[in-house]
């Protein structure tokens, strides 16, 4: 592979006679490395008096509200085989933790209240996910039990009545 890459460079003076190919080749050669992205320096700390969203230039985290709402919806949504609860819970978990990371990169840029919301959404999503997983495990146990020995399952149901 290295020879093939070196060959066009060596053949350059020879190809100059053809006048057209060397124009194309230098474009393909060097991979254009983008300049390394530098984090902007963190802004000033949020002012302590900022009750309703902080001082100037601060904005809410983009997914904090969504994480909180999804995390709370996830709890009653575990009815349908626990699947919706699992989906909502995991989405809330991911959104909340992503926003927490975003806040910790530059804490001055975002409001602290939205950070708290994102944290609450993450924790609610975690709890809902755990509950849904427990539900699904229980359901799988029941279904496997019902499939493997249906006679015992029927007796079990009858015994509960």
């Amino acid at each position: 592979m290295s020879e093939e890459q070196e060959n066009p460079q060596e053949n350059k003076p020879i190809d100059l006679s053809k006048k057209e190919e060397p124009v194309v080749q230098p474009i393909n050669e060097g991979p254009v490395t983008p300049p390394p992205f530098q984090q902007p320096p963190p802004f000033q700390q949020p002012p302590p008096f900022g009750q309703f969203g902080g001082g100037f230039g601060q904005q809410n985290l983009p997914n904090a509200t969504a994480a909180l709402v999804l995390g709370i919806i996830a709890l009653p949504a575990c009815c349908f085989y626990g699947i919706f609860g699992l989906i909502f819970g995991i989405i809330a978990w991911i959104l909340g933790s992503g926003d927490m990371k975003k806040y910790q990169l530059n804490p001055g840029l975002y409001t602290e209240s939205s950070y708290k919301n994102a944290k609450a959404g993450k924790i609610c999503g975690m709890i809902a996910t755990i509950l849904s997983v427990l539900t699904i495990l229980f359901f799988v146990l029941v279904i496997v039990g019902a499939i493997t020995n249906p006679q015992m399952y029927d007796d079990f149901i009858r015994g509960m009545k």
């Binding site: 009750q51 309703f52 969203g53 509200t65 909180l68 709402v69 995390g71 709370i72 709890l75 009653p76 575990c78 009815c79 349908f80 085989y81 626990g82 209240s113 708290k116 919301n117 944290k119 609450a120 924790i123 609610c124 709890i127 809902a128 755990i130 509950l131 427990l134 539900t135 359901f139 029941v142 279904i143 019902a146 149901i157 509960m160 009545k161």
Partner: protein, 107 residues
């Protein structure tokens, strides 16, 4: 005015969504009872509502509190939501385990 309202609730009671797990396997899921409980609450029967599903009142509380919190941004809001949410999860778990041990899963 009371009559159409009551009949609407009765109509709602006959048209509850049925739990897919319960219809297939005959066993309550951890969310079963929520709709009956909300219906009892709409009729104003707090005790029946609690009996059907103990987590209904905290659930309704947390939903409305979250909406208010997102609007007005309380200082303690996120913390309170976390605590109440964990409490609701514990209530649901305890309720379901209680149902298993007391053979109420087929109710």
């Amino acid at each position: 005015m009371a009559h159409p309202h009551k009949s609407f609730l009765d109509w709602l009671g006959g048209h509850l969504l049925s739990c897919p797990f319960k219809t297939h396997f005959g066993i309550d899921c951890p969310g079963c009872g929520l709709q009956r409980s909300v219906l009892a609450l709409l009729k104003g029967d707090l005790i029946d509502s609690f009996r059907f599903y103990p987590a209904t009142l905290p659930l309704i509380f947390i939903v409305f509190f979250t909406l208010i919190h997102l609007k007005f941004d309380f200082k303690f809001g996120a913390q309170l939501i976390k605590i109440v949410f964990a409490g609701i999860a514990v209530i649901i778990l305890i309720n379901y385990i209680y149902k298993i041990y007391n053979h109420q899963l087929l109710s």
